[in-house]
Symmetry: C2
Subunit: 338 residues, 2 copies
């Protein structure tokens, strides 16, 4: 490995000067700088990032904790987060906790404040109190995708107005004339998605439509579960003309269940989800959904986390992410006349 001082020797300067060339260029004479640059090039010098981190007291990596990256929602977030991190000179460490609080705590203990300067937390399986303790002792923690803007947590967070997302879905279905709507409520690695269903129900109620508890199912967060639940729902409540799912995975499963049952989507039954994952526009019929701007939220999260690292705050603060937006595709249509 080529070190700073080898470069220094070749350029007939001292390590400090090489270091200066690498950072605040102004301070060094153009001629020496050129000599140093030449030496760096000849030797193929690359700074040792661990040494730099040790000397500077801060690393250049960020950690992203999530329960399980194989849920299709996460990769999109990770991609955008990694791009944003890279843009600002940071690396991204991915930490799957496998829905295991112990694993999460272990990660926090090992990397927060040493390998990683800050941690973006997406999963809810770690107790806020543990996170809080780690944030106090080790390094800033930012909660990405906080689902309850109305009740800020004791840590900084990016909040997404999921209740609004649910309401948008309701308005869309109402406009199309739907009254009998089944609910598929996800309870996955991000926790129970009740902000979404509550927002939906409130909007329906505002239109005079009372929620029917027998038309709602609370299920695990996957296509499979959505499929199975929709099957049950339609068996019990054949009069439903639309399904609202709190996330796209469930909605995609529901669409498939309906097709399997011989219902046309959207002619017989409409389906709407939330999130707008990539899959949503790739399935057929393409899914109508409420986009929560995953990539934008990811970028915002990274920016905010970096801000927190540079100028730590003592008060937790919440920033609201981009507002959810309805994306009308092919899985919703007017209620069928019967």
């Amino acid at each position: 490995m080529v070190t700073l001082s080898e470069v220094a020797k070749l350029a007939h300067v001292t390590a400090a000067t090489v270091s200066n060339v690498l950072r605040n260029r102004e301070k060094v004479h153009p001629d020496t700088a050129a000599r140093v640059l030449k030496a760096i090039d000849e030797l193929g010098y690359r700074p040792n990032l661990n040494a730099r981190a040790l000397a500077e007291g801060r690393s250049s990596t960020l950690a992203l904790m999530l329960s399980n990256i194989s849920n299709p929602f996460y990769p999109e977030f990770v991609l955008a987060a990694e791009r944003a991190a890279r843009k600002s000179g940071h690396f991204l460490m991915v930490c799957n906790t496998d829905d295991n609080a112990e694993t999460g705590r272990a990660y926090l203990n090992q990397i927060a404040g040493t390998l990683a300067d800050g941690v973006l937390v997406m999963n809810t399986d770690i107790a806020i109190s543990d996170l809080y303790a780690s944030a106090m002792h080790n390094a800033p923690i930012l909660l990405a995708m906080w689902e309850h803007p109305e009740s800020p947590p004791t840590l900084p967070c990016i909040a997404v107005d999921f209740a609004r997302a649910g309401a948008l879905a309701a308005h869309h279905l109402l406009e199309l004339g739907h009254r009998d709507v089944g609910l598929l409520i996800g309870d996955g690695c991000g926790g129970l998605q009740d902000a979404r269903s509550n927002g939906f129900r409130a909007a329906m109620l505002a239109a005079g439509i009372e929620a029917d508890p027998t038309a709602a199912l609370q299920i695990r967060d996957s296509i499979d579960a959505g499929y199975a639940a929709c099957m049950r729902l339609m068996a019990n409540r054949p009069e439903l003309s639309a399904i609202f799912a709190t996330n796209d995975l469930l909605a995609i499963g529901a669409v498939q269940a309906l097709i399997t049952l011989g219902h046309a989507v959207p002619d017989d039954v409409s389906v709407i989800g939330i999130t707008d994952i990539q899959l949503a526009h790739q399935v057929h019929p393409a899914l109508t959904t409420v986009a929560i701007q995953t990539a934008a939220v990811a970028e915002l999260s990274i920016e905010r986390l970096i801000g927190l690292i540079q100028t730590p705050e003592h008060e937790p603060s919440m920033v609201l992410g981009p507002l959810p937006e309805l994306v009308v595709r092919a899985s919703t249509g007017p209620r069928r006349k019967r």
Copy 2:
């Protein structure tokens, strides 16, 4: 931040002893060890991994380079790789190159041998010669998922016998009586999937069935592309009774296209893919495919990479991953009598 020497002071020993307690426990007296442990606990000491990496001359993180994690195949690999890495005390840094060779080279330059002790490379957009140079100067590089076991690269790799996967698909379709099979050949972030299609064609040829070039389409690696290509294929060649796709994404797109066209799957047309991504068993009808044991390959890759780091070799070597296996689900069936 609590340091080793603060712990040492509290325990009335020296830093070296604390360090010894943390690593080779035998060397230190049980009583002192207990005192040290107590001090560590009281102070909430956590080792600084950067300092350790610097002192030891090796870090505890591994890097995984891929072109774009939002392709559903990667998250499954990443999940398994991260678990394997964690099991052996390593962290995983995810590097998306966005199909950009320059980004890949930059990553390699910045982290190989400093932040990361080894790099698992999944994408083919970086020239092997660049990888080779980096492996020589910086840190071991392992090519995961090498698609051509018959021609080993100049770097260590885990090879997967994709030709065999193609052949298995062919045998399955042949057994079901299919003769007119359309080919969807992916050309995505992992490069042109020709080993798979060649394996398929060879197996068909061995059964006396010549490949018809007009029944094969080479397309980008996505559900969308599979959908569109299948539409075209069926328009041109309505007599096809089966579709073989070199990966599951394409196959899933194809199934949707067939359903949209009013063909029953598998009663009218059978569809088979390769990989067995999670989505494959979640769609309806569930996809018949050839599993390449993604998780097992990921674990093997991590183990091998760690081996390479510990005892570097000077000869590149190839190890063959688990053999592909046919997974029969609901998207294939006997050729329809006409």
